[in-house]
Protein backbone atom coordinates (compact mmCIF):
# COMPACT_ATOMS: atom_id res chain seq x y z
CA UNK A 1 0.00 0.00 0.00
CA UNK A 2 1.09 3.54 -0.64
CA UNK A 3 1.46 5.29 2.65
CA UNK A 4 3.57 8.27 3.50
CA UNK A 5 5.62 7.92 6.68
CA UNK A 6 3.59 10.43 8.63
CA UNK A 7 0.29 10.25 6.79
CA UNK A 8 -2.90 8.59 7.91
CA UNK A 9 -5.28 6.59 5.79
CA UNK A 10 -8.76 8.11 5.75
CA UNK A 11 -11.36 5.42 5.09
CA UNK A 12 -14.50 6.06 3.11
CA UNK A 13 -17.39 3.60 3.47
CA UNK A 14 -20.03 2.58 0.96
CA UNK A 15 -22.25 5.56 -0.01
CA UNK A 16 -19.96 7.97 1.81
CA UNK A 17 -17.51 10.70 0.84
CA UNK A 18 -14.57 12.52 2.38
CA UNK A 19 -11.53 14.64 1.50
CA UNK A 20 -7.83 14.56 2.47
CA UNK A 21 -4.70 16.67 2.24
CA UNK A 22 -1.13 15.49 1.83
CA UNK A 23 0.43 13.55 3.58
CA UNK A 24 -2.80 11.63 4.30
CA UNK A 25 -4.21 9.19 1.80
CA UNK A 26 -7.82 8.24 1.17
CA UNK A 27 -9.15 4.74 0.67
CA UNK A 28 -12.29 2.71 0.05
CA UNK A 29 -12.62 -1.09 0.20
CA UNK A 30 -14.56 -3.74 -1.64
CA UNK A 31 -15.91 -1.85 -4.65
CA UNK A 32 -18.08 -4.18 -6.72
CA UNK A 33 -20.69 -2.56 -8.94
CA UNK A 34 -20.09 0.64 -6.97
CA UNK A 35 -17.75 3.27 -8.41
CA UNK A 36 -15.01 5.08 -6.49
CA UNK A 37 -14.56 8.60 -7.85
CA UNK A 38 -11.43 10.51 -6.88
CA UNK A 39 -11.30 14.25 -7.55
CA UNK A 40 -7.97 15.97 -6.92
CA UNK A 41 -6.23 19.32 -7.15
CA UNK A 42 -2.53 18.81 -7.94
CA UNK A 43 -1.57 22.37 -7.03
CA UNK A 44 -2.96 22.05 -3.51
CA UNK A 45 -2.28 18.33 -2.91
CA UNK A 46 -5.85 17.87 -1.87
CA UNK A 47 -8.20 15.09 -2.94
CA UNK A 48 -11.69 13.78 -2.33
CA UNK A 49 -13.26 10.34 -2.74
CA UNK A 50 -16.90 9.35 -3.10
CA UNK A 51 -18.12 5.70 -3.05
CA UNK A 52 -21.16 5.72 -5.36
CA UNK A 53 -23.83 2.97 -5.36
CA UNK A 54 -26.46 4.22 -7.81
CA UNK A 55 -26.41 6.29 -11.02
CA UNK A 56 -29.01 8.94 -10.30
CA UNK A 57 -30.85 10.43 -7.34
CA UNK A 58 -34.11 10.18 -9.30
CA UNK A 59 -33.96 6.45 -8.42
CA UNK A 60 -34.43 7.32 -4.75
CA UNK A 61 -37.82 6.53 -3.34
CA UNK A 62 -37.30 8.50 -0.14
CA UNK A 63 -37.87 12.12 0.83
CA UNK A 64 -34.40 12.77 2.13
CA UNK A 65 -31.40 11.39 0.30
CA UNK A 66 -27.85 10.56 1.16
CA UNK A 67 -26.04 12.60 -1.49
CA UNK A 68 -22.96 10.37 -1.51
CA UNK A 69 -25.00 7.37 -2.69
CA UNK A 70 -25.72 8.72 -6.19
CA UNK A 71 -23.41 9.71 -9.04
CA UNK A 72 -25.09 13.02 -9.80
CA UNK A 73 -25.46 14.30 -6.23
CA UNK A 74 -22.30 12.64 -4.89
CA UNK A 75 -19.95 14.27 -7.39
CA UNK A 76 -21.58 17.68 -6.83
CA UNK A 77 -21.28 17.34 -3.07
CA UNK A 78 -17.62 16.32 -3.40
CA UNK A 79 -16.85 19.33 -5.64
CA UNK A 80 -18.49 21.63 -3.07
CA UNK A 81 -16.52 20.11 -0.25
CA UNK A 82 -13.23 20.49 -2.14
CA UNK A 83 -14.14 24.09 -2.96
CA UNK A 84 -14.66 24.82 0.73
CA UNK A 85 -11.25 23.31 1.44
CA UNK A 86 -9.64 25.80 -0.94
CA UNK A 87 -9.42 24.10 -4.31
CA UNK A 88 -10.63 25.65 -7.56
CA UNK A 89 -13.22 23.51 -9.37
CA UNK A 90 -11.50 24.38 -12.67
CA UNK A 91 -8.29 22.70 -11.49
CA UNK A 92 -9.96 19.43 -10.48
CA UNK A 93 -9.08 16.20 -12.24
CA UNK A 94 -10.65 12.75 -11.82
CA UNK A 95 -9.57 9.15 -11.54
CA UNK A 96 -12.27 6.49 -11.31
CA UNK A 97 -12.43 2.75 -10.56
CA UNK A 98 -15.11 0.12 -10.04
CA UNK A 99 -18.37 -0.58 -11.82
CA UNK A 100 -17.80 -4.33 -12.09
CA UNK A 101 -20.41 -6.98 -12.64
CA UNK A 102 -19.71 -9.45 -9.85
CA UNK A 103 -22.10 -12.18 -10.96
CA UNK A 104 -22.88 -13.22 -14.49
CA UNK A 105 -26.36 -14.46 -14.98
CA UNK A 106 -29.42 -13.45 -16.86
CA UNK A 107 -32.05 -11.45 -15.10
CA UNK A 108 -34.45 -8.81 -16.36
CA UNK A 109 -33.65 -6.66 -13.39
CA UNK A 110 -31.86 -3.45 -14.28
CA UNK A 111 -30.10 -3.61 -10.94
CA UNK A 112 -28.06 -6.56 -12.24
CA UNK A 113 -26.18 -4.38 -14.68
CA UNK A 114 -25.81 -1.48 -12.33
CA UNK A 115 -21.99 -1.38 -12.64
CA UNK A 116 -21.84 -0.13 -16.25
CA UNK A 117 -24.74 2.25 -15.56
CA UNK A 118 -22.88 3.72 -12.60
CA UNK A 119 -19.73 4.25 -14.70
CA UNK A 120 -21.73 5.94 -17.45
CA UNK A 121 -23.49 8.24 -14.96
CA UNK A 122 -20.19 9.19 -13.31
CA UNK A 123 -18.67 10.10 -16.69
CA UNK A 124 -21.72 12.20 -17.62
CA UNK A 125 -21.60 14.10 -14.38
CA UNK A 126 -17.85 14.74 -14.68
CA UNK A 127 -18.32 15.96 -18.26
CA UNK A 128 -21.08 18.34 -17.11
CA UNK A 129 -18.67 19.81 -14.59
CA UNK A 130 -15.75 19.98 -17.06
CA UNK A 131 -13.61 17.66 -14.97
CA UNK A 132 -11.25 15.57 -17.13
CA UNK A 133 -10.82 11.85 -16.39
CA UNK A 134 -7.07 11.27 -16.23
CA UNK A 135 -7.26 7.52 -15.63
CA UNK A 136 -9.84 4.80 -15.07
CA UNK A 137 -10.06 1.13 -14.23
CA UNK A 138 -13.70 0.18 -14.65
CA UNK A 139 -15.87 -2.77 -15.61
CA UNK A 140 -14.77 -6.40 -15.53
CA UNK A 141 -15.93 -8.78 -12.83
CA UNK A 142 -13.48 -8.24 -9.97
CA UNK A 143 -13.87 -6.38 -6.70
CA UNK A 144 -11.45 -3.51 -6.10
CA UNK A 145 -9.94 -1.74 -3.12
CA UNK A 146 -8.56 1.68 -4.02
CA UNK A 147 -6.30 4.18 -2.28
CA UNK A 148 -5.36 7.65 -3.54
CA UNK A 149 -2.30 9.63 -2.52
CA UNK A 150 -2.74 13.40 -3.05
CA UNK A 151 1.05 13.86 -2.95
CA UNK A 152 1.84 11.60 -5.93
CA UNK A 153 -1.70 11.85 -7.42
CA UNK A 154 -1.56 8.09 -8.01
CA UNK A 155 -4.46 5.73 -7.46
CA UNK A 156 -3.49 2.31 -6.13
CA UNK A 157 -5.90 -0.48 -7.09
CA UNK A 158 -5.91 -3.91 -5.48
CA UNK A 159 -7.92 -6.84 -6.80
CA UNK A 160 -8.10 -10.43 -5.58
CA UNK A 161 -7.35 -12.10 -8.89
CA UNK A 162 -5.30 -9.55 -10.83
CA UNK A 163 -3.03 -8.21 -8.10
CA UNK A 164 -2.10 -4.56 -7.60
CA UNK A 165 -1.85 -1.76 -10.15
CA UNK A 166 -1.36 1.99 -10.07
CA UNK A 167 -3.04 4.50 -12.34
Amino acid sequence: MIQSRTGQVIKVGIAQLDIVKMPDTIRTSGLGSCVGVVLYDETKNIAGLVHIMLPDSSLARTETINEAKFANTGIKALIDKLKLAGSQPSRLKAKIAGGAQMFKFTSDKDSMRIGPRNVEAVKNELRKNNIPIIAEDTGGNSGRTIEFNPDTCLLNIRTVNQGVSEI
Binding site: S29, G30, L31, A100, F103, G143
Partner: protein, 210 residues
Protein backbone atom coordinates in the same frame (compact mmCIF):
# COMPACT_ATOMS: atom_id res chain seq x y z
CA UNK B 1 -42.66 6.63 5.50
CA UNK B 2 -41.30 3.43 4.05
CA UNK B 3 -42.15 -0.12 4.94
CA UNK B 4 -38.87 -0.84 6.63
CA UNK B 5 -39.69 1.68 9.33
CA UNK B 6 -43.02 0.06 10.12
CA UNK B 7 -41.63 -3.28 11.18
CA UNK B 8 -42.46 -4.39 14.71
CA UNK B 9 -40.94 -7.00 16.99
CA UNK B 10 -43.62 -9.50 15.92
CA UNK B 11 -42.47 -9.00 12.35
CA UNK B 12 -38.87 -9.54 13.38
CA UNK B 13 -39.86 -12.82 15.08
CA UNK B 14 -41.54 -13.96 11.88
CA UNK B 15 -38.46 -13.14 9.83
CA UNK B 16 -36.35 -15.01 12.38
CA UNK B 17 -38.58 -18.06 11.98
CA UNK B 18 -38.19 -17.82 8.21
CA UNK B 19 -34.41 -17.84 8.65
CA UNK B 20 -34.69 -20.72 11.08
CA UNK B 21 -36.75 -22.95 8.80
CA UNK B 22 -34.79 -22.12 5.66
CA UNK B 23 -31.33 -22.50 7.12
CA UNK B 24 -32.25 -25.66 9.07
CA UNK B 25 -33.22 -27.37 5.82
CA UNK B 26 -30.08 -26.11 4.09
CA UNK B 27 -27.86 -27.22 6.98
CA UNK B 28 -29.44 -30.67 6.91
CA UNK B 29 -28.83 -30.90 3.16
CA UNK B 30 -25.22 -29.83 3.63
CA UNK B 31 -24.77 -32.29 6.46
CA UNK B 32 -26.03 -35.24 4.43
CA UNK B 33 -24.03 -34.22 1.36
CA UNK B 34 -20.80 -34.15 3.31
CA UNK B 35 -21.68 -36.83 5.85
CA UNK B 36 -20.55 -34.42 8.56
CA UNK B 37 -22.34 -32.81 11.43
CA UNK B 38 -23.27 -29.21 10.67
CA UNK B 39 -24.70 -27.01 13.39
CA UNK B 40 -26.49 -23.73 13.01
CA UNK B 41 -26.95 -20.73 15.20
CA UNK B 42 -30.29 -19.16 16.05
CA UNK B 43 -30.85 -16.73 13.16
CA UNK B 44 -30.29 -13.05 13.73
CA UNK B 45 -32.60 -10.55 12.14
CA UNK B 46 -31.02 -7.15 12.18
CA UNK B 47 -31.55 -3.76 10.70
CA UNK B 48 -28.07 -2.56 9.84
CA UNK B 49 -26.43 0.24 7.89
CA UNK B 50 -24.58 -0.72 4.70
CA UNK B 51 -21.32 -0.18 6.57
CA UNK B 52 -22.42 -2.54 9.37
CA UNK B 53 -23.47 -5.09 6.76
CA UNK B 54 -19.82 -5.23 5.62
CA UNK B 55 -18.78 -6.27 9.12
CA UNK B 56 -21.14 -9.27 9.25
CA UNK B 57 -18.62 -11.47 7.45
CA UNK B 58 -15.28 -9.99 8.45
CA UNK B 59 -15.15 -6.66 6.62
CA UNK B 60 -15.46 -5.33 3.07
CA UNK B 61 -12.01 -6.51 2.04
CA UNK B 62 -12.12 -10.07 3.38
CA UNK B 63 -11.88 -12.56 0.55
CA UNK B 64 -14.72 -15.09 0.62
CA UNK B 65 -16.45 -17.61 -1.58
CA UNK B 66 -19.91 -16.25 -2.33
CA UNK B 67 -22.97 -17.81 -3.91
CA UNK B 68 -25.63 -15.31 -4.91
CA UNK B 69 -29.08 -15.63 -6.35
CA UNK B 70 -32.11 -13.44 -6.83
CA UNK B 71 -35.51 -14.59 -5.65
CA UNK B 72 -38.40 -13.70 -7.90
CA UNK B 73 -42.11 -14.45 -7.63
CA UNK B 74 -44.57 -13.61 -4.83
CA UNK B 75 -41.76 -12.16 -2.79
CA UNK B 76 -38.46 -10.82 -4.12
CA UNK B 77 -35.05 -10.46 -2.64
CA UNK B 78 -31.42 -11.51 -2.68
CA UNK B 79 -29.85 -14.52 -1.10
CA UNK B 80 -26.19 -15.17 -0.34
CA UNK B 81 -24.30 -18.18 0.95
CA UNK B 82 -20.91 -16.94 2.13
CA UNK B 83 -18.02 -19.21 3.11
CA UNK B 84 -14.53 -18.32 4.31
CA UNK B 85 -11.97 -19.58 1.74
CA UNK B 86 -10.55 -22.32 4.02
CA UNK B 87 -14.03 -23.66 4.75
CA UNK B 88 -15.06 -23.71 1.10
CA UNK B 89 -11.78 -25.52 0.36
CA UNK B 90 -12.55 -28.17 3.01
CA UNK B 91 -16.11 -28.73 1.74
CA UNK B 92 -15.09 -29.02 -1.89
CA UNK B 93 -11.99 -31.15 -1.17
CA UNK B 94 -14.26 -33.60 0.58
CA UNK B 95 -16.94 -33.50 -2.13
CA UNK B 96 -14.58 -34.15 -5.05
CA UNK B 97 -11.96 -36.21 -3.21
CA UNK B 98 -9.12 -33.87 -4.07
CA UNK B 99 -7.21 -32.51 -1.12
CA UNK B 100 -5.16 -30.19 -3.35
CA UNK B 101 -8.13 -28.15 -4.46
CA UNK B 102 -8.19 -24.55 -3.25
CA UNK B 103 -10.03 -21.34 -4.05
CA UNK B 104 -7.12 -19.25 -2.78
CA UNK B 105 -4.46 -19.88 -5.42
CA UNK B 106 -4.04 -21.24 -8.92
CA UNK B 107 -5.39 -24.63 -7.92
CA UNK B 108 -8.94 -23.94 -9.05
CA UNK B 109 -10.25 -26.77 -11.17
CA UNK B 110 -13.35 -26.87 -13.30
CA UNK B 111 -14.63 -29.80 -11.28
CA UNK B 112 -14.16 -27.95 -8.01
CA UNK B 113 -15.89 -24.83 -9.27
CA UNK B 114 -18.88 -26.73 -10.58
CA UNK B 115 -19.05 -28.69 -7.31
CA UNK B 116 -19.24 -25.37 -5.46
CA UNK B 117 -21.92 -24.14 -7.83
CA UNK B 118 -23.88 -27.32 -7.31
CA UNK B 119 -23.48 -27.03 -3.55
CA UNK B 120 -24.87 -23.49 -3.81
CA UNK B 121 -27.75 -24.80 -5.90
CA UNK B 122 -28.68 -27.52 -3.45
CA UNK B 123 -28.40 -25.36 -0.34
CA UNK B 124 -30.26 -22.35 -1.67
CA UNK B 125 -32.86 -24.70 -3.18
CA UNK B 126 -33.53 -26.36 0.15
CA UNK B 127 -33.58 -23.01 1.98
CA UNK B 128 -36.10 -21.55 -0.46
CA UNK B 129 -38.35 -24.57 -0.85
CA UNK B 130 -38.69 -24.73 2.94
CA UNK B 131 -39.55 -21.05 2.88
CA UNK B 132 -42.05 -21.53 0.11
CA UNK B 133 -43.74 -24.45 1.94
CA UNK B 134 -43.93 -22.45 5.15
CA UNK B 135 -45.42 -19.31 3.63
CA UNK B 136 -47.36 -20.78 0.71
CA UNK B 137 -45.65 -18.25 -1.55
CA UNK B 138 -44.37 -19.07 -5.02
CA UNK B 139 -40.66 -18.31 -5.10
CA UNK B 140 -38.54 -18.61 -8.20
CA UNK B 141 -34.80 -18.52 -7.59
CA UNK B 142 -32.44 -17.59 -10.43
CA UNK B 143 -29.53 -19.91 -11.17
CA UNK B 144 -26.94 -19.09 -8.47
CA UNK B 145 -23.80 -17.23 -9.45
CA UNK B 146 -20.40 -17.92 -7.87
CA UNK B 147 -17.72 -15.37 -7.05
CA UNK B 148 -14.47 -15.61 -5.10
CA UNK B 149 -13.77 -12.02 -4.15
CA UNK B 150 -13.94 -9.32 -1.49
CA UNK B 151 -17.03 -9.61 0.72
CA UNK B 152 -17.92 -5.94 0.16
CA UNK B 153 -17.91 -6.33 -3.61
CA UNK B 154 -20.05 -9.47 -3.39
CA UNK B 155 -22.66 -8.36 -0.84
CA UNK B 156 -23.17 -4.89 -2.36
CA UNK B 157 -24.79 -6.66 -5.34
CA UNK B 158 -27.68 -7.45 -2.99
CA UNK B 159 -27.89 -3.94 -1.58
CA UNK B 160 -28.70 -2.17 -4.84
CA UNK B 161 -32.48 -2.71 -4.76
CA UNK B 162 -32.63 -1.71 -1.11
CA UNK B 163 -30.44 1.34 -1.56
CA UNK B 164 -33.10 3.02 -3.69
CA UNK B 165 -35.39 3.06 -0.67
CA UNK B 166 -33.21 3.13 2.40
CA UNK B 167 -29.74 3.47 3.87
CA UNK B 168 -30.41 0.51 6.09
CA UNK B 169 -31.08 -3.10 5.32
CA UNK B 170 -32.97 -5.85 7.11
CA UNK B 171 -30.83 -8.96 6.99
CA UNK B 172 -31.81 -12.47 8.05
CA UNK B 173 -28.45 -13.91 9.02
CA UNK B 174 -27.90 -17.56 9.93
CA UNK B 175 -24.43 -18.83 10.75
CA UNK B 176 -23.41 -22.45 10.38
CA UNK B 177 -20.62 -24.38 12.07
CA UNK B 178 -18.88 -27.57 11.22
CA UNK B 179 -18.51 -29.86 14.20
CA UNK B 180 -15.22 -31.53 14.98
CA UNK B 181 -13.03 -28.47 14.70
CA UNK B 182 -11.20 -27.05 17.70
CA UNK B 183 -12.60 -23.58 17.58
CA UNK B 184 -16.30 -24.03 18.16
CA UNK B 185 -16.94 -20.30 18.17
CA UNK B 186 -15.64 -19.82 14.69
CA UNK B 187 -18.34 -19.24 12.11
CA UNK B 188 -17.89 -21.48 9.09
CA UNK B 189 -20.51 -19.99 6.82
CA UNK B 190 -23.40 -17.56 6.54
CA UNK B 191 -26.77 -17.51 4.87
CA UNK B 192 -27.89 -13.95 4.26
CA UNK B 193 -31.45 -13.36 3.09
CA UNK B 194 -32.16 -9.76 2.07
CA UNK B 195 -35.81 -9.28 1.15
CA UNK B 196 -36.48 -6.36 -1.21
CA UNK B 197 -38.19 -3.45 0.56
CA UNK B 198 -41.52 -4.07 -1.18
CA UNK B 199 -41.51 -7.75 -0.22
CA UNK B 200 -42.07 -7.47 3.51
CA UNK B 201 -45.79 -6.79 3.07
CA UNK B 202 -46.25 -9.92 0.96
CA UNK B 203 -44.29 -12.09 3.41
CA UNK B 204 -46.35 -10.91 6.39
CA UNK B 205 -49.60 -11.15 4.46
CA UNK B 206 -48.84 -14.73 3.43
CA UNK B 207 -48.47 -15.58 7.11
CA UNK B 208 -51.62 -13.73 8.14
CA UNK B 209 -49.94 -10.82 9.88
CA UNK B 210 -50.45 -7.30 8.65
Amino acid sequence: MNEIQKITSLHLDILKEIGNIGAAHAATALSSLLARKIDMQVPKVEMVSFEEMMELAGGAETVVVGIFLRIEGDSEGSMFFILPIEQADRFIQSLINDDQFSFSDGKLTELGVSAMQELGNILSGSYLSALSDFTGMKLYPTVPGLSVDMFGAIISTGLIEISEVSDQVIVINTSIFEEGFDNRNEVHGHFFLLPDPDSFTSIFKALGVS
